[in-house]
Symmetry: C2
């Protein structure tokens, strides 16, 4: 599809809210032995569960490297479309495009620059050459023209209310391993240009120990315009105790692009989780990927759910806190079916359900 | 897309004539150093010419291995859609699906078995593991349900008049390196079942020295129902002198599925062509592909043209005979634009324009 030389803001294109109707969802297939344990089979089983769950709500395409095509096709149900889309890892939220619409039936996408969450300064793996092409390939398949943004950004670091407001974190977007040459004001101007937005809400930090340097999608999101769901903990010993209060303070003192204050729904975090010794041993460590050591804390969060047409795909962790998360989200989304999926194998790779999906708005 | 357990004949699906309207064309990108000279660059330039020419007439998608995606995208014009579809080589006619319609808007495809034109008994290369998946992947992209045929067949070995008649050759379909366990009657029954046909016309042989064991698409094709274009030579020293007369005799003594005799248009072959010493030297020979030696004869033929919506894409060879081929085809197809493209680099790889394309009927 053509690459455009204008910006979405100039052309009247904006990022819809995830809660708005989708044409479908895009995913990628995990296979890194140096990131996922047991030859990636446990992760693949979880991805299959997520994919087949989403496919009950809307069309789902999963992109796979050629050498795993047979395997993916065999493991996935016929309701899931399997296509070749090469990647270095399976975080479609971050390497994929951000889709935009013009509210008149037009659909386009933003192809962000990407350096695997930090490049040689804290990134997750090397190389990321295939990831660099994922957005272009998905946009070609979707038949959507492409904007190429002139800065590094992962889709997991932004949320849109579809009405001009973007939610993000300073911890990620101002991290020197992303765009050290850009000041906050320049990044904010780019966000407005490339997402067709008027207001950017800067939360200070994301979830503690998040490998993404604090992606907002593990910490806070829009339930609908002017309503934010925020990770929460009332335990002073929880490493997120200060972080969630910082975030709440910003939200309470902000107005969205339409001038509205935010209603904030608190969503209790799971207890602090850690990688077990067994889970660490079962990874084929090498020099191409970040070490995934035993006992290291994991950034588990129920906010990393994904909204589909009529549903909420929620990662759970086998913890007592799971039931509360399901109940709270069912209360926030009375018209959606909340479906819990096992989130631990995704979390071991550094993210969760929201990180491995990407919506194509209707 | 679902794999069906019935046959096209049972479901009322048939193979339209290539001369009928297309939704578009599928191609694959060449890259074998052991088959194409000069690191495949000359072949790639020719494929680009063919692709951009076809794209002037109808939508064109080219599938490419992930390691050549950047190169293909850079060389091809924006009018050509580039997607990842892995292959061992770029003969979409043969590894791709055969599309069928039910004349009521339905489209499906046949996935033939494939052994690289002969497997370990004269095949072109090893392995052909990626080729085995090409048809499934194209049908998925086209949104077409799939029939899996229980025998080996390449699309270049059949032509359909869209009205129940199939044209093929005994030299290829009865070759012991394809389906040695099947008798002619069984193969004919399969052709009828999987192409929704009633009559099979068996020409004895194809063009001499054809690496495909005599694919019909280098030798004879339908201009329209009851009209066949046949390769021809009036030179008794031409190695095809007897072959074309054998073919003509069969056509003159046959009736199509509707009971009509055939009008035969003779299309003079180019002079016998050979691989030059320079062309042979510029290939990186290895044990994985057929030797491509200097001075070996090449199976050049103008019949290996491809019909697109409103056009005829004709391979030419820089020979005095080119002008006659253009004129004859323009006479047979007064409503189509005949566009000549350089065919030699494709011929050096073992086929021509028809072999590297596959139509998706409307």
């Amino acid at each position: 599809m053509p690459t455009l030389s204008t910006t979405p803001a100039q052309d009247g294109y904006t990022m819809p809210g995830e809660f708005e109707p989708h044409t479908g969802t895009w995913m990628l297939w995990p296979q890194r032995f140096d990131t996922y344990r047991m030859g990636a089979v446990y992760a693949q089983r979880t991805w299959v569960t997520v994919a087949e769950t989403i496919a009950r709500f809307e069309p789902l395409t999963i992109g796979v490297n050629h050498d795993q095509y047979r395997r993916a096709r065999k493991m996935l149900p016929p309701t899931v479309r399997v296509l070749e889309i090469s990647s270095n890892d399976a975080w479609t939220r971050d390497s994929g495009p951000t889709f935009l619409t013009n509210r008149q039936g037009g659909i386009r996408g933003v192809h962000w620059q990407f350096n695997a969450w930090g490049g040689f300064n804290g990134g997750a793996y090397f190389p990321w050459d295939e990831d660099l092409l994922v957005a272009e390939k998905i946009l070609t398949l979707a038949g959507a023209d492409r904007y190429c943004a002139p800065f590094i950004l992962e889709g997991g670091s932004i949320h849109s209310d579809g009405q001009g407001t973007i939610l993000t974190t300073e911890e990620c977007l101002l991290n020197p391993n992303r765009n050290p040459h850009l000041a906050k004001e320049q990044i904010e101007a780019y966000l407005k240009s490339y997402l067709g937005a008027q207001t950017v809400i800067w939360l200070p930090r994301g979830v503690a120990f998040d490998e993404t340097s604090g992606h907002v999608d593990n910490f806070a999101c829009f339930a609908r315009p002017a309503e934010v769901i925020l990770a929460w903990s009332d335990d002073p010993n929880n490493p997120n105790y200060e972080r969630v209060r910082e975030g709440l303070a910003v939200l309470e003192n902000s107005r969205d692009a339409q001038g509205r204050p935010f209603t904030v729904h608190k969503l209790q975090l799971p207890p602090q989780l850690h990688r077990t010794k067994e889970e660490a041993l079962e990874i084929d460590e090498n020099e191409f990927a970040r070490d995934r050591l035993a006992d290291l804390p994991l950034a588990g969060s129920y906010v990393n759910f994904y909204l589909v047409n009529g549903g909420v795909i929620l990662p759970v962790f086998g913890e007592a806190t799971d039931a509360n998360a399901i109940a709270v989200l069912q209360g926030i989304f009375p018209d959606r079916q909340v479906v819990a999926v096992p989130g631990r194998e995704i979390l071991l790779g550094g993210g969760n359900v929201h990180c491995i999906t990407q919506q194509q708005p209707a």
